[in-house]
Symmetry: C2
Subunit: 404 residues, 2 copies
């Protein structure tokens, strides 16, 4: 893959890595994988990082990651957010041409674009622009999503840690609700269009806790059924733990909370958890509260999944290996190898097949009445959260002394 | 402390432990301390736990904790909530007499009441009732509060872990805000009347992250100053991280968010964080979001402070030792030993001095304009959160390559 440089000397191709969209708990782990593998590949010269996402390419804000010491690089494995920055810049049509010009200027042969659906769209457009300009630039996507909404791949780095967070924290909260069973608690999870993260809370049951009810954006929210379920459970148990997606919609497909305001492309909704807690207080007269860990779900290093981290590193390394071995215009994906033990293999998925698509939960992962998940989902999700959840002790269920 | 039993044989006095109010991350650690010390004390026979708080005494729902195996007991150190349950039952006047009757019936000589301000009030009333009835029952309080609002003691078990949670999580969130600096993020912390937990977020700065602004319930909230500060910081930095207490009040001492509803003694307010995020969107036209970890702050075992846990165990043990050595009607408190190194000693504080009082942050712990804490606060708080926070890596601040 080495090629002849400007002045005729033998020269290697440089590489560029860029992050797009919201960070996850392991996007830096994929970055670590990219750096480690790029160091091993003799065909790669400099490894540029664009600082601050795709805008960093346009502004030529680059850093050579090969100059960073190993000790510092290793910290990437347990650093949240994006160590090289990221952006949600919407690229304009002529930005793609400009990006290709910058790539050429810096003699970049391999581009690694780490991102979610939106970023894979940008990635595919850069790929197209490169083809139109007949360059020999290689574009490889590395998937990243806490929401798990990227299509075709079995799952993507970032989700396993978000899932672990929800499972572990729901387990912890449920201890509180059981120990002081005085209210209905609504926990709101991220994932506006896909319920994967919300659903993962059900894994808390393996450790003895867990939610009583789960509401997902894939199922139209029925207020009456919700209130009936909550009332019944409250009368039976005292404390009720409900986990809901931030994106719940009604039968008309409209958010159950009205939008607060629109600014540009962004629509601001009130919090679904707060809205439902208020509904429980007002319509049932039962004490209720709401929690919204929000960003905590994607930044928490303490709840990072070891499996997710390992796979994120793998995705980064595989992207580099794929690029060097001649792949182009593809995203690294995971395929689950059938069998009793959890195993994955990486596959290359054409960028055109993933760009701007969104994967929601299949119906067979949700129970028939739409207020919980199925065993099929739990089986699918279980390996992704990594090492077993903490188990807690309770004497509340012990046989009491007989009254004297 | 041994005494003569009903049928004239030599018999030991039994003990009773009960939890009151909301759990903390280390109330079970104090329970562990009580059990361990009670096992060592020859003068203590059975160690009854009241299951489900003070109501468990009235219903005589008891378990002998001395019968529980060591392996299970050790799990208490990393189990959130209350392994023996807790309650917020408001005791009625004649309940105190009934409680004393049950205590006598079970030949209980030592009562350990673990709780916050409200529980110390109940504890003091039981103590008074015992004195009025001329019993030789010993009542000892073990403090517990995530809010740190118990008076006289330097701090109380539960706060250190809540403080660690806020410091660590604020550090993590600030990485996200710096990596994708597109919005104002408002994190809401627990503590309706006292800002200790909110303030602890400032310790994130020691690890390189941290909040830009901190608003506490001790300082009347000034909307104009808030909007001005946020706008200025947003223009300067892009991402702004604000940590606020759930109990912010205006200059009239009234909650800045209107109450949603009242049920019995409980008043329900909307979320301060959501209210302020909405204000930023509407009045400044800047993207904003809000996080409300809520219960997560008091249940998270991953963010539990090792110092807090150690001190919680100590408080439990000291309560038992104090009871056996003849103390009565007191709560275990902590006094900080002056000196460079952090050290505490336990002190016995009369219950009457702590009951139903509330400690808020002193003015010298808050900066002059009221939007941050002071070094005095940081110095006081630092040792309580235990081992150092994680340090993260960022290449965003590295010197970039010069443009070719």
């Amino acid at each position: 893959m080495a090629r002849i440089g400007k002045r005729g000397e033998f020269s290697m191709g440089n590489a560029l890595v860029v992050h797009g969209g919201a960070p996850t708990a392991v996007i830096n782990s994929s970055l670590y994988g990219v750096v480690e593998e790029a160091k091993r590949q003799k065909g790669i010269g400099k490894l540029y990082a664009a600082i601050g996402g795709s805008g960093g390419i346009l502004k030529e804000e680059f850093l050579d990651l090969k100059t960073i010491g190993e000790e510092k690089l290793k910290l990437l494995l347990e650093t949240p957010a994006s160590a090289i920055g990221t952006s949600r810049d919407a690229l304009k049509e002529d930005d793609y041409k400009k990006i290709v010009d910058v790539i050429k200027k810096y003699e970049i042969r391999y581009v690694f674009f780490n991102g979610g659906n939106g970023s894979m769209d940008a990635c595919a457009r850069i790929y197209r622009t490169c083809r139109e300009n007949q360059t020999d630039i290689t574009i490889i996507g590395i998937p990243k999503t806490m929401d798990n909404d990227i299509v075709i791949t079995d799952h993507a780095p970032g989700f396993g840690s978000a899932a672990r967070y929800m499972a572990a924290v729901t387990n912890e909260i449920s201890q509180d609700i059981q120990a002081l069973p005085i209210h209905v608690c609504i926990v709101e999870a991220m994932g506006r269009n896909a319920g994967w993260v919300t659903a993962a809370s059900a894994l808390a049951r393996e450790a003895g806790g867990g939610p009583d009810l789960i509401y997902l954006p894939e199922i139209p929210f029925d207020e009456d059924a919700f209130l009936r379920d909550v009332k019944w459970l409250y009368e039976k148990k005292g404390g009720v733990l409900v986990v809901v997606s931030e994106g719940l919609r009604n039968h008309e497909g409209v958010s159950i909370v009205p939008p607060v305001m629109k600014i540009g492309r962004s629509v601001y909704y009130g919090d679904v958890g707060a809205y439902l807690a208020q509904m429980v207080i007002q319509k049932l007269g039962i004490k209720a509260r709401n929690e919204k860990p929000g960003l905590c779900i994607r930044v928490s290093m303490e709840y990072q999944s070891d499996v997710d981290r390992k796979e994120a590193v793998l995705a980064g390394k595989e992207a580099v290996r794929a690029a060097v071995s001649g792949e182009n215009g593809v995203m690294v994906g995971f395929r689950r190898i059938p069998g009793d033990e959890y195993q994955i293999q990486t596959v290359m998925i054409p960028l055109e097949e993933v760009m701007m698509k969104e994967r929601s939960m299949p119906r067979n992962y949700i129970n028939s009445v739409g207020n919980d998940v199925t065993d099929d989902f739990l089986e699918w999700c279980r390996p992704l959260i990594g090492r077993p959840l903490r188990r807690f002790v309770s004497f509340r269920g012990e046989r009491l002394l007989s009254k004297e």
